[in-house]
Amino acid sequence: MSARVRLWVFLAGAAGFAVLFAVACFGLPAFGTVHHPYGVRAVHASLSHHTANVIASVNFDLRAFDTLGEETILFSAVLGTVVLLRQARDEHRKDPEPAVVHPRVRRFALLMLPLALLVGLYVIAHGQVSPGGGFQGGVVAATALHLLYIAADYRALERVRPLTLYEVGEAAGEAAYVITGLAAVLAGSAFLANVLPFGTFATLSSGGTVPVLNAAVGLEVVSGVVVLLARFLDQAVEIEEPGADDGSPGGAGSGPDNGDDGDDGDDERERA
């Protein structure tokens, strides 16, 4: 399909969508309306489980099973990225050369690193009390580690980042979520039901299983984001492109997946 035809097909589809969407919008309840039946019930359910942050309650209590699915998407996306960005047979690694960092940049990044890490862990731990939780805090904590890449160089980052450990951490985060759910079953309730004592409202111990699931998600997100960024940084910093694209039969993505999984895994372990 030529670019012109494609554009016309899009314009026809877009016009149809615009009309239908606009009609649907006029059928929606008015913006800012006070009546929210689901919201009212969610707030009530959250308060009855002593969880101050209703969004955390919705995610880890009312919709805990859906969040398991969401966490699994995260897990599989990271897994897929790791598989896709492995070092192929015709690629080789080059040790990155340390770059000169301006002393002010170095001081600032080293000052911010522990602070950002602490904020990340704080946000994970206080997910049931204040805005935040495992997903948000996990991203903050994981990116905090990468301030070391800015402050020093890639090798310093690799030293604080044993990749195997983070890969295990990601799996452990996913497993902890499932185990928390199964523990509820063993306690004689439904999968992922909130069976722990609800604790005192608006304190760290409130919310029953909400802080536990928050921590599991936090662990998975920290590890997942570190592994993801490590793979992309590897591509940018370490892995050299093969000299020429010779069109060998091992092209098109499917070829390298076939027999050399073990080899690639070994290479990466040795490096880590």
């Binding site: 899009f10 008015a30 006070v34 209703v54 990225t81 896709l84 009390v129 069109g247």
Partner: protein, 114 residues
């Protein structure tokens, strides 16, 4: 009584799809997909808004205060997490395509290999 926030969501969606359709660069296309997806955040938050509502966190606010709808906010959170990881996966695919085919132009990727 306005539908403008809903229409903005539809407009962002269409802009994103327009970018996808006319894209000559897969990295640009992945970015456009992220734009398309962000229209759902706008729609969800617009649906959940309440006049005079505060954040649905009762740590400091009294428990009878009027809050915006927490259900759609939780859905938006899910959306963001899934979107970010899927974007990472797609970018990894683009990296491999660039390596194997030497191009990120989707129109140049018609040949079969391997």
């Amino acid at each position: 009584m306005t539908v403008l926030p809903y229409l903005v969501a539809g407009w962002i969606f269409l802009i994103g799809v327009y970018g996808l359709v006319t894209s000559r660069d897969l990295i640009h296309a992945v970015g456009c997909l992220a734009v398309t997806q962000s229209s759902t955040y706008v729609l969800l938050l617009a649906v959940g808004y309440r006049d005079g509502g505060t954040a649905p966190v009762f740590a400091d606010a009294p428990t009878d205060s009027r809050v915006v709808d927490p259900v759609v906010q939780a859905l938006a959170l899910t959306d963001i997490v899934v979107g970010a990881t899927v974007t990472a996966l797609l970018l990894a695919l683009v990296v491999q395509l660039r390596k194997r085919h030497g191009t990120v132009d989707p129109d140049a990727l018609s040949e079969l290999k391997g």
